[in-house]
Amino acid sequence: MNAFVETAMLVVGFLLIIAGCYGLIRTYHLLKIVIGVEVAMKAVTMFIILAGFINGKAALAQTFVITVIVIEVVVAVVAVGIAINLYHNYGSMDVRNLRKLKG
């Protein structure tokens, strides 16, 4: 019974990562990219907790998760900061405006 829970968590985690990365790549909205990143990070957090649950080291896994959450917040703040500055420059949050660098 327990093994089935873990397998389900693995499968759902992989599907969430695929969903998050798909959304990140295909969207045209700057903030949607950040949401895609966050969704994928949820799945990764779940993998870490699952790993701790499997090999018995739940406390170590919790310390990992706490650190990952702190990092995730700061990365979200930076991404949102750059997005808002882009909005000030261009007037919209469209990724298609970012065409100045090419080659």
Partner: protein
Amino acid sequence: MEAVVYICLGLMFIFGVLAVMLRSMLKSAIALAVASAMLGIIMYVLGSVWAAMFEISVCSGLITVIFISAISLSNTDKKDLAKLYEDKERMAFLPAVLIISGVVLLLVVTSPVFSLPAVAPVAEAADTLRETLWTHRQADIWGQAMVIITGALTVVALFKERE
């Protein structure tokens, strides 16, 4: 206990996919918050109490607040503006992609090639977390402090008004 995990897994998955696919940014952010809450419940049921508390307070709370302030700062949620980003058409293939990869993963997982390591769930007291965090993982503590300082410097660098 198992039933709770399954329900929360299913809900987290649904809200996660909704967060990516919805056209309105506000609803997207709220779906993300609900998915984080579901993940928190899963973590609590699996025994990781402190991580669940952190997850719910930070991801369901702080990140949602950051998103909502970004959305209101950029005025981006009006209906006609939302249509501009063509999210519905761009994400139309996502359910198909997910179903196909779900089928592939299920085939991989149920084949005899695959098995997980043995399970040994241990209910550990909260003391162990304190000891692990503060005496064994001091490099991480330093790292977290520096990440937060960097975040503060970032906010100063990026959000100050133009002179």
